[in-house]
Amino acid sequence: MQRTSKLKSAAEALAHVKDGAKIIAGGVHLSNTPMALVRQLVRQGVRDLEIVPTPATGLWVDLLIAARCVKKVHVSYIGLEFLGLAPNFRRAVEAGEIEISEVDEPTIFHGLRAAASGLPFCVFPPIHLLTDLPKVSPDVYKTITDPFTGEPVVAVPPIQPDVCLVHVAKADIYGNGLSLGGRHMEDIITKASRHVILSAEEIVDTSEFSAAPTQTTIPGVLVHSVVHAPFGAYPGACPGVYNYDRPHLLEYNEFAKSDRTCDYLDAYVRTRNSDDDMIQRIDPARLQALRLDAR
């Protein structure tokens, strides 16, 4: 018998993402976010997503909010890093259009880690009692008693996404992946989630992984689908492969600040049948100049 390839088109891989799904994407800030997969979600017009972002991110959430795909966001940091606030997120919250679970970095991190580890919840020293988070999120922060010391501690719940999207530099058709940049939460979110879709700049032979198994960052056993997505993190950066496209990000930010993200989506996403189609419309010389090996 032959081993089964997990390689699919983005549309095939994401077809099963249902309205109302709880979804997470890898990466940090404008680095290594699976934007090609996110744009495909926009094309598919999925609705009512519950977004569980990694602790510091924004662009993909802002885009999905503008595309009216989002019902609820768990918030640690949703922003555009050096570009400032995430305009669509800001506007939607100020207008009361989306639900918020107001949390922070350790709450999301440890909630995901509890789910990844099969643990019922996680317990913090009571530092959150010095913030206003428990007041606005009493369903998340529960004060309990430490059975070993009798002291008050704070319990936070596990977070188990339905769908996890991760972008890597290289993958094989069985789902093994290699990321070259910072290790954020890819190892944890792939374990925490029910269904994992990997997009990769390059599809390589399994022998590249088996020649150096200590380098593999995502084991294929956790991955359900692999999507070949060159410039799949664009306009963000893919660590070790290319930088972010600053002018394009500024352009997005202008659209977003002036509440015309729909125009951006029409220009770059909805009118393109696929992400390959979108990337092909970007000036190739400009893309080439972003590549780290071009510098």
Partner: protein, 258 residues
């Protein structure tokens, strides 16, 4: 006096002097100036200082340019370790970070910081990005507050939402802050340098940058500032400091910045 350095360069030098040889510090987004201060400290009085450069995970980055994104892969250049987020959060909870640089969209008299919402939480005037790591003012050893602006909308009498607790509510602070944590101990803005060394832990002007005075800083602050008895101008960078700053900042980002 001819000002042959920028305010940003002055700030980097000031931050450097506040750091100790045994510090382990962390900076996050939009942190050119603290980053430069950290690297300057390593190259002057604090060769054993370690620092994390935000989302890149770079420990002791020696990147040849100051880039605008902390998470930038290029910050790993010359670093000694790529810190996973798990380590970062562990270092925040356990207080292994002796210094954590934080900021806010509102900061009040007692160093409370708000990154969530200006106005009523349920119907905010300005929705901020969120609390991120600000709760860790209660678990890292010293919190250094760094802001890129200084105006009465930022420095308010009382924050509308407490993301990171400063020195208000001493009883709760005593009960819930980790024993080793001192909360905000230092604040630097484009106008001056501050500490919190009043009996009630209120923000206190320690020095003002070139072109400023006690009065001009007070005028841009939305509450009554305490003032240190020996308040005076922020000491200028030495020639050696300036030389090193400009080696670190070869692209002149800080020089252009003010």
């Amino acid at each position: 006096m001819s000002m042959d350095f920028s305010v940003s360069e002055l700030m980097a030098a000031a931050i450097s002097r506040e750091l100790r040889d045994d510090d382990f510090a962390a900076v996050g987004t939009a942190s050119h100036i603290p980053l430069c201060g950290l690297r300057l400290a390593q190259r002057t009085h604090a060769p054993n200082l370690w620092f994390l450069y935000g989302g890149s995970g770079a420990l002791n980055s020696k990147a040849s340019e100051l880039v605008e994104m902390a998470a930038d892969y290029r910050n790993l250049e010359g670093a000694e370790y790529r810190t996973p987020l798990a380590d970062i959060i562990d270092f925040e909870f356990t207080g292994r970070f002796s210094v954590l640089f934080l900021g806010g969209m509102q900061i009040d008299k007692y160093g409370n910081m708000n990154m969530v919402a200006v106005g009523d939480y349920a119907k905010p005037k300005v929705r901020g990005p969120g609390t991120v790591g600000l709760a860790f003012t209660a678990s890292v050893q010293r919190t250094f507050v760094y802001v890129q602006h200084h105006d009465p909308r930022l420095f308010v009498e009382k924050v509308d939402f407490v993301s990171g607790r400063g020195h208000s509510g001493p009883e709760e602070v005593a009960a819930y802050r980790r024993p080793w944590a001192q909360g905000p101990t230092y604040l630097i803005s484009p106008l001056g340098v501050f500490d919190f060394e009043t009996p009630d832990g209120a923000m206190r002007l320690r020095s003002y940058h070139p072109g400023q005075s006690v009065e001009s800083v007070q005028a841009k602050t939305g509450f009554k500032l305490a003032v240190a008895p020996d308040v005076g101008p922020t000491p200028a960078p030495t020639a050696q400091e300036l030389r090193i700053i400009r080696e670190i900042d070869a692209g002149g980002v800080l020089r252009a910045g003010a």
